[in-house]
Each structure stands twice: as C-alpha cells, then as structure tokens.
C-alpha cells in the first residue's frame, strides 16, 4: 500500500530517523519517501536510529513555497521549501530494534 492511499488515516510507519531543517523526518522503509513529524523539531541523539511512528497522515505544504530566485536579480529571496510533503500529525514514536 502506498502512502497516497493512507492520507487522512491513522498510520504506523517504520524507518530511519533523520533531521531536516523543517523538523524531524522518517525515511520510511521500502517506500523511498519521507514523512515529516512537524511537531518534533529534532531527533536529537536518536538521529540515524530505527523508529516506529504513529499519527495522522496528511499531504500538504509545510510553511511557504520558496520563490524561484535563480537569476532573480535584486528580488529578496523567499524562504521555504518547494512542493507538498507527507506530514504526520499528532505523532508518537518509539525506538525499534
């Protein structure tokens, strides 16, 4: 089953804990996709470890889109990330072996 089929459902996923500038993320096993735990800033010392996370899966923008700035001359750069992401809301997590 793909993540797309699980949107708006409570899911439990396993993968590797990684820190992104937006928040803690999980590189989900076998799917090649990342899920963003927007309520957790960082994994701290648990970065790189295997984790199991549970929460409500959404697919949405995080923050704002960064504006395309290459060759933008004197325009101010807009800060953010481009594209929607899979987000886990209300997430809880545990370390797994």
């Amino acid at each position: 089953m793909s993540l797309e089929q699980l949107i708006d459902r409570t899911v439990t996923l396993r993968g590797i804990a990684v820190d992104d500038a937006a928040c803690a993320i999980v590189e989900v096993d076998d799917l090649g996709r990342n899920v963003y735990l927007v309520e957790l800033a960082s994994w701290g010392d648990n970065g790189g470890k295997r984790v199991e996370v549970t929460g409500t899966l959404r697919y949405r923008q995080i923050g704002r889109d960064a504006a395309p700035v290459a060759g933008a001359g004197d325009q101010l750069a807009v800060h953010g990330m481009v594209g929607k992401r899979y987000v886990l809301e209300g997430a809880t997590w545990t370390l797994v072996a």
């Binding site: 820190d19 992104d20 937006a22 960082s42 923050g63 704002r64 750069a77 953010g80 594209g83």
Partner: protein, 143 residues
C-alpha cells in the same frame, strides 16, 4: 580606521574589511552583530544535478573567508519527493551575545517558532545543508 585594520594581526590580510565598516567613523555608535547562514553548495544546474553538493563551491580560502557572491538562496533538490521538489533553502542564526546562545526559527510562516539554542544544536547535521558561514554586521546604536 585604515591604520587600525592594518595593525591588526586578525584583520590585516582579510578581504573587504575596510569596505564593510560603517560610514560613521565613531565606533561608539556601532554594535557588531554576529550571524550565521546554513545553505547548500550546488545552486546551479538541473534538478538532477542539484541533489548532490559541489565540493568546489563556497569553500573557505586560506584566510577562512568564503566568497558568497554566487549565493542565490537556492535549495537542494529533494530526491525523495521527485522532480521540482526542493528542500528548505537556507537557515539563518543570530548570535545573542548577552546569553551566548543562537536564535533561529522553524521555517514556518505562519506558526513561526523561534528557538534559543547552543551553537552545537543550531549547527547540527541536517540533510538540507552542506555549508555554514559566519558573518558580522553592524547595527547603529540608538540608545
């Protein structure tokens, strides 16, 4: 000012020091602010090329200075999300000299959260960035 810079063992052979000083010659009217920027080194090329960093770009010279003139605030291509997805493009941190900590934020607008962190935490490994520079800016003292 020129002679003070020339006499300083830390400053005399750095580039652009004099040009970076405030116009006002009275240093009691300045306050030096230290800030940091984290970003990704490869900012040109195709989305495919921009998945990985460029070891030749934004590296320090023999004096520790980094030429930022090519920085266009372009984020790293997000290989996990597919073509035309890009990661958060940069992160600024501001040094609070009163507390010895670094102020940075969560990249969310609205719902921005400001964090007060150690330099170690602010500089922690993140998949978005492979470069970090430190800079000094001058603010006018008004009180």
């Amino acid at each position: 000012m020129r002679s003070q810079i020339a006499d300083s063992p830390q400053l005399f052979d750095l580039k652009n020091v004099l040009a970076s000083m405030p116009v006002d010659p009275d240093p009691t009217k300045w306050h030096a602010c230290v800030f940091s920027k984290r970003f990704f080194s490869r900012q040109t090329g195709s989305w495919e090329q921009r998945k990985t960093g460029d070891p030749t770009k934004f590296t320090a010279d023999k004096h520790g200075q980094v030429d930022m003139s090519g920085d266009q605030n372009v984020g790293r291509a997000d290989a996990d999300e597919g073509a035309e997805s890009y990661m958060i493009n940069f992160d600024y941190g501001w040094y609070d000299d009163k507390s010895g900590s670094w102020l940075h934020a969560n990249h969310a607008e609205p719902n921005m959260k400001v964090y007060q962190s150690t330099l170690e935490y602010y500089s922690r490994p993140l998949r978005n960035f492979d470069r970090q520079v430190f800079s000094v800016a001058f603010a006018r003292v008004t009180t």
